[in-house]
């Protein structure tokens, strides 16, 4: 202990002593010293009193609860082979890159896991998209039983998309008073994913589970454990992430997707703008947007500015993010929405530009349920501070649109990642027995956006000299490896550690517009005089269209009696699907001579279950280097079938699932040579000694005994 520490301790002791004198001296305590001290004393006393009462209660009821749990847990821990399972989900971690980086000596902890336990490629789902694969991971069933086939599903009545995982509607009842519509009750949220996550079975058996940010867990379902929802949680506007760029630079351009441009008005030395929020619930759907105004006052150096949002002020340097700032959108007396966002000062001269992240649901005051129990997100916010709650929290659109540069995007990603790590370690601390599952999205987002630097001639990085390309993905994998090392240091040999990814990654250098192919080959028709369509099939002539595509991998037949303007007789559907499969399989990119489509899969062949009718009729497996074009995903027909992908979003996995398996690392030996993600749920249930539900599609692996850890 240094002298400085000693003095600090003495000073602290003196302060505590002074406080004690103040509290214990009747003469002074009699002279009550204002509401500050009053609040401090009362609230501290109250806190301790409540905690004490609750502890007494907990101690008294603990034996009964334990007895009750023991009765339930006999069937679980009685036959359990493990005390605890820790599952780390690294979204999109690729086995080939992992292998390569291990060989290069970059991933010592994963190398150790491979040596002591298991490393396998993990077969993924059809199609290999995160919401599909993670739904299969948690339920142990194929998509035909969990009903998630893509981020988007199509409405057969309108040919328009909707979010496949959750439906959010206004309150069931409203009261109309003049021009105001008073909502009576909260929003209606309906989960679209079917099937039962395996932690429900564990929880019912008395095994405690902490589940953090596993995709497609919004809305959170009730179960005996704690869960923080992940991918598919909306922002406060109800979208999957809408950033805003507040700028003095005049521009009529709109961002294609994911963001809005907001003008900044100058008034002397003060700049004023606003953060757009949700629509006014009192306006009854008239679309009036709520806003939170803010001011920017640059200092004389022109390198930093004072920003004031409501009652909060903070200083930002150019190129710096703020902390999470709470914003409150007021609709009227008693109606407000609480969000958090971060500000990034892009530029102060010659123009003023500030980027604002999508407004996340405030985890400390959630207006929509984002955790189970509701208090879990509040608990984490109080313990760790505000954190990103948006499903796709890393703003890939902003980088795609050049609103953020590489460094700013990475800073955002890793800030979220650090929060997630803190959540994981708290969950590990709180779950000494049971299941602790946590999914990290950083691996997916960073690979999507920086794959261009891994290749010699990716179209999106041709203007960056090879020797100037940063090793972003290499650093990402190293970071994840260090995380695994820290987790390994905190677990004992009775804990099963499993590291899984839902899919791998490949280059996305060339775009394929299948709607263009369908159009040029006579399966999709445009209205007379049109050579291209707008988004979402604007100008498509449905009366002459037999097949269409939207979303990332699905092709739909325009079936009579199913689609609103369907024309293909149900009896002819199989023949049409066969014809399309034959023609599309092996589709060659004339510019490169490479195969753009390496597999076309019939939904009836790859899915089985009660929800197969909602599946696309065909699943397209794009080849390495290809993916559905940005236009094709949005239901647009263009004249070009193949084109270069010039966006920063340069790597992808929405291709032939056989080309992008995920990873499986385990600290125990696993006998299976070709494990699949669908097997994870039954394997965990079996390891905890629970019977397997009959409807599961996955098969439990043979997992060996614990391996002694070596440092």
């Amino acid at each position: 202990m240094s002298w400085r520490d000693v003095f600090r301790e003495l000073r602290r002791a003196a302060l505590v002593g002074a406080i004690a004198v103040v509290l214990l001296s009747p003469a002074i305590a009699h002279a009550y010293a204002g509401p500050g001290a009053g609040f401090a004393v009362l609230s501290s006393f109250w806190t301790l009193f409540v905690a004490f009462l609750y502890s007494i209660y907990a101690f008294f009821v603990w034996p009964f609860r334990q007895l009750f749990r023991l009765l339930r847990r006999r069937k679980a821990y009685g036959k359990a082979e493990i005390k605890r399972a820790v599952i780390l989900g690294f979204d999109g971690m690729d086995p080939e890159l992992t292998d390569r980086f291990i060989a290069e000596g970059r991933l010592p902890n994963l190398a150790k896991l491979r040596e002591q336990g298991t490393f396998r490629k993990l077969r993924t789902t059809f199609p290999p998209i995160s919401p599909v694969a993670w739904s299969t991971f948690m339920t142990g069933v194929n998509p035909g039983k969990h009903n998630i086939y893509d981020f988007l599903a199509r409405d057969v009545a309108s040919y328009l998309p909707y979010l496949s995982s959750a439906e959010i509607k206004g309150p069931r009842r409203t009261l109309k008073i003049g021009k105001y519509t008073i909502p009576l009750g909260g929003a209606q949220i309906k989960g679209m994913r079917k099937g039962i996550p395996f932690w429900h079975w564990l929880g019912d058996a008395g095994i405690f589970c902490s589940v953090i940010r596993v995709p497609v867990t919004f809305p959170p379902e009730k179960f005996p454990g704690v869960l923080l929802s992940g991918m598919c949680v909306p922002d406060l506007k109800g979208s999957q992430g809408t950033f805003c760029l507040c700028t003095t630079r005049p521009s009529g351009d709109k961002f294609r997707e994911g963001g809005v441009r907001i003008p900044v008005e100058r008034s002397g030395s003060v700049y004023r703008s606003y953060v757009p929020g949700p629509n006014d619930p009192l306006a009854g759907g008239s679309g009036e947007e709520l806003r939170v105004k803010f001011e920017i006052v640059p200092d004389k150096s022109g390198k930093q500015a004072r920003i004031t949002v409501g009652s909060q002020s903070f200083t930002l340097k150019v190129g710096e993010y703020s902390e999470w700032i709470p914003v409150k959108f007021k609709a009227g007396v008693g109606f407000s929405a609480h969000g958090i966002c971060r500000f990034f000062l892009k530029e102060l001269s010659p123009e003023v530009e500030i980027y604002v992240t999508p407004v996340n649901i405030d985890p400390g005051r959630p207006d929509l349920p984002i955790s189970h129990p509701l208090t879990y997100s509040i608990y984490l916010a109080k313990l760790l501070g505000p954190y990103a709650t948006l499903g796709l929290a890393e703003d890939t659109w902003a980088l795609n649109e050049h609103v953020l540069d590489d460094d700013a995007f990475l800073a955002q990603c890793y800030a979220n990642h650090d929060d997630r790590e803190r959540m994981l370690f708290d969950a590990l601390d709180k779950t000494q027995q049971g299941l602790c599952a946590c999914v990290f999205d950083t691996t997916d987002r960073v690979q999507h956006m920086f794959w261009r630097y891994l290749e010699d001639d990716h179209p999106a990085a041709r203007d960056v000299p090879r020797d100037q390309r940063p090793e972003v993905i290499q650093e990402l994998y190293s970071r994840m490896d260090r995380l695994i090392g820290r987790v390994m240091s905190q677990i004992d040999e009775k804990t099963l550690l499993m590291v899984v990814s839902d899919h791998g990654f490949k280059s996305f250098a060339r775009c394929v517009n299948l709607n263009a192919w369908l159009h040029q080959n006579g399966y999709l028709a445009l209205k007379p005089g049109k050579t291209e369509s707008g988004d979402w099939f604007e100008d498509v002539d449905w009366s002459r269209t037999r097949a269409y595509t939207m979303g990332l991998n699905g092709v739909y037949v325009n079936v009579k009696g199913r689609e609103r303007e369907g024309i293909v007789d149900p009896a002819e559907v199989d023949a049409l699907k066969y014809e399309l499969r034959t023609k599309l399989n092996g589709l060659v990119d004339p510019a490169s001579g490479r195969v753009g489509v390496t597999g076309v899969f019939d939904c009836d062949a790859v899915y089985a279950g009660p929800y197969v009718d909602n599946a696309p009729d065909l699943i397209i497996g794009y080849g390495d280097g290809f993916r559905a074009s940005w236009d094709s995903v949005m239901g647009k027909v263009t004249s070009q079938i193949f084109e270069d992908n010039l966006k920063a979003w340069s790597g992808d996995h929405c291709i032939d699932p056989r080309l992008v398996p995920g990873i499986l690392f385990c600290n125990r030996k696993i006998a299976e040579e070709k494990p699949a993600i669908v097997d994870v749920a039954p394997t965990i249930l079996k390891l905890f000694g629970l019977p397997l539900p009959g409807h599961l599609d996955g098969k439990p692996w043979s997992v060996g005994p614990a391996v002694a850890q070596t440092s």
């Binding site: 602290r12 302060l15 505590v16 002074a18 406080i19 103040v22 003469a27 002074i28 009699h30 002279a31 009550y32 010293a33 204002g34 509401p35 500050g36 001290a37 009053g38 609040f39 401090a40 004393v41 009362l42 609230s43 501290s44 806190t47 301790l48 409540v50 905690a51 609750y54 502890s55 907990a58 603990w62 609860r65 334990q66 749990r69 405690f208 704690v226 009652s311 129990p373 208090t375 879990y376 509040i378 608990y379 984490l380 916010a381 109080k382 313990l383 501070g385 601390d429 709180k430 000494q432 027995q433």
Partner: protein, 257 residues
């Protein structure tokens, strides 16, 4: 106003509570580490929530309780730092207000006690009370040798401000006395030496040092303030109202307490 259950002293307490509540919240905002207080409070709430969320895990419950105790200490330490800035002025202010609102003057026709404490019990027999016109003793003096104290039972015939004198060997001192209604500044006791005690309880000059009389006290009745259907000591009413005022102003001003 009286018909509404509010009297003049109550209005004064309400006014003081509002002003002090506002001032102290502002001072608290400027002199405290707002961010640290916010974090400390959040930590407390988190550990409280942990008790509920992880209630089946007794290890977590125990650790959470320990963390609650630590976090409470941290919060108190942070919250009491501003106290060091306000304790002296607030204490002096409260002492001064207490002169007006803590006691009620003696009422004409009602008996009350005047007490004198002497240096030695051997001189109790030599002490005498001299009363001005309008005051009269209603009983012989009572000696309490164990306390070196002598007490006189007195009654006032009329309202007014008086000076009573106590005569002891080699010394004669006076003490103010107020009879009647209103909110006069009252001094319950006159003391010799004991600066700190005098500061808090006396509003008169110190008795001369070296004399045989240590203190002279008039026993005024405590003042009850009618508010909201209850009889309050002013300091308790101030405590409650200033907390309410502080709660309102901290919300308006966005200050973390």
């Amino acid at each position: 106003m009286a018909s509404l259950g509010v009297n003049f002293p109550a209005l004064i307490v309400i006014f003081i509570s509002l002003v002090i509540g506002l001032l102290m919240v502002i001072v608290f905002g400027y002199t405290s580490d707002q961010k640290a207080i916010h974090i400390a409070k959040d930590q407390l709430k988190a550990h409280l929530l942990a008790l509920r969320l992880f209630q089946d895990q007794i290890g977590v419950v125990l650790r959470s309780y320990a963390r609650i105790v630590v976090a409470t200490g941290t919060y108190l330490r942070l919250a009491f730092k501003p106290l060091l800035f306000v304790i002296v002025p607030i204490t002096l202010l409260i002492v001064q207000v207490d002169r007006y609102l803590g006691l009620t003057p003696v009422q004409a026709g009602h008996a009350f006690l005047i007490k004198a404490r002497l240096a030695d019990d051997s001189i109790l027999n030599d002490a005498a009370l001299q009363l001005p016109e309008g005051l009269s003793a209603t009983a012989p003096a009572v000696h309490v040798p164990a306390e070196n104290e002598i007490a006189w039972r007195v009654v006032a015939a009329r309202d007014g401000k008086f000076n009573v004198s106590i005569e002891a060997p080699n010394q004669k001192v006076s003490k103010s006395l107020v009879v009647g209604p209103g909110l006069p500044r009252l001094s319950e006791i006159r003391l010799r030496g004991r600066l700190w005690e005098r500061l808090f309880v006396s509003a008169e000059p110190a008795l001369p040092a070296g004399g045989t009389i240590e203190s002279v006290e008039v026993q005024y009745p405590a003042r009850d303030i009618a508010f909201a259907g209850l009889a309050w000591n002013w300091i308790w009413l101030f405590f409650v109202l200033s907390l309410i005022a502080g709660f309102i102003f901290k919300s308006i001003l966005g200050i973390e307490i």
